[in-house]
Symmetry: C2
Subunit: 247 residues, 2 copies
């Protein structure tokens, strides 16, 4: 049975794309057939792997997953690239529940050949993110170890709860991941403690440290585990992958 992880958080710049790319690469290196879906109009997950965004969005043009999915430099990791087409993004956003159905049908076709599907979503609570949540089996939520990190969470949790209550819904909480942890800052330790007290077991034990190798990897078009396998950030994403496989 395929596991579909939606990597989502309304707050911007918390490490959604970085987590989607690096966790997907680790799952593929752990011999799982993995599909990475880029639903963000910024297409950072696509360009972060050295690939080109599509002119048109396959969800709008009706291209099948077999036609639109492309291989990456990592064996067992394939990608459904994003599209910057403003018109297509607007159209998907205006469709509401129909967009969710398209995405579900699309992923159902891709599921036949995948063990894991990861969806990178934009920094918003809009229709694209809601469609991604509805089409997923679990949500993985990166949280940056900063003050604003805790602020918008209540809104995000409300939307997640609403999606979980819809009929035929299979969304569960996959986990909360603390990212860009800088062990020299008191603020990071405070956020870590607060998040664990509030969310308990859901929070992954693995914490991703702030590590320049992680932010440099996209300029080489590959994941940090391939760019700098001995870096602290690479080891943390490998540990996260082990935890995800155990859950």
């Amino acid at each position: 049975l395929v596991r579909t992880l939606c990597i989502a958080n309304q707050k911007g710049g918390v490490g959604k794309t970085t987590t989607a790319i690096n966790l997907a690469a680790c799952l593929a290196l752990a011999d799982k057939e993995t599909l990475l879906v880029d639903l963000d109009p910024q297409c950072n997950a696509t360009t972060g792997l050295g690939l080109q965004p599509l002119e048109r969005h396959p969800l709008v043009t009706g291209q099948s997953p077999a036609e639109a999915t492309i291989p990456t430099g990592t064996p067992k990791l394939s990608m459904l690239p994003g599209s910057r087409s403003f018109g297509d993004t607007q159209r998907l956003a205006e469709e509401g529940p129909e967009c969710t159905n398209r995405l579900r049908r699309y992923l159902a076709q891709a599921a036949a050949t995948s063990d894991f599907i990861l969806i990178d979503s934009p920094p918003s609570l809009g229709p694209l993110t809601e469609a991604a949540l509805s089409a997923s089996s679990e949500i993985l939520m990166p949280i940056q170890c900063e003050y604003f990190a805790m602020e918008g969470l209540t809104q995000m949790i409300q939307v997640i709860k609403r999606v979980m209550q819809q009929p035929e819904q299979k969304l569960e909480f996959g986990g909360i991941l603390l990212t860009m942890y800088d062990h020299t800052l008191e603020l990071a330790a405070e956020v870590d403690q607060e998040v664990r007290e509030f969310f308990g077991e859901i929070v992954f034990e693995t914490v991703i440290p702030r590590d320049v190798s992680v932010s440099e990897a996209p300029s080489f078009g590959c994941s940090v585990v391939e760019h700098a396998p001995r870096a602290r950030g690479a080891r943390a994403y490998i540990e996260l992958c082990m935890e995800v496989l155990e859950r």
Copy 2:
């Protein structure tokens, strides 16, 4: 004549809210009557100054600026708080051009008593950001010194150009601001050079360094210039303020 600055960038976590709060505080400390408008449903600009988000959005309820605007802890700095009301945000987004008109009328009333109005916008190119751009006289675009920073810029520039070409439009490019510059990273120097080569004079000379005092200030409910006036981040925002006043 009031100057209305829209702080915008589709990329998340680049320092929009941090720049909106700290530049607004510096303008107020430089004796300018300043209004900070929080258009982001996350309400980080509101909570970053220790204030409470509104239950309902004044743009939807029709409350006048005089009724909805509240003072902050900084003399000459007042705030139009944001609202997390999901319904109101959806409604504003669905209204399109009508939302722009409401915002323009709203800001026209506030303009009578302000020298500067700063608008903090969400990380998206959606209707709220487009309304904010249409109602502003200049755009100030923070760019993080990271790889993904340059990726989505072309889309952002297309939207800005489109807004500039609309009738009765007064939007100009106020400037590009490099943020979270870590002088120990080669990546930061590369992005700095690339942005200045591409955009030239538009880029502010002032660069905001990565400084923990900046990210801690919101937990004290005030700007970094009041929380840690001798910190590098505070001095940089004061320098930025001087540059904005000269333009």
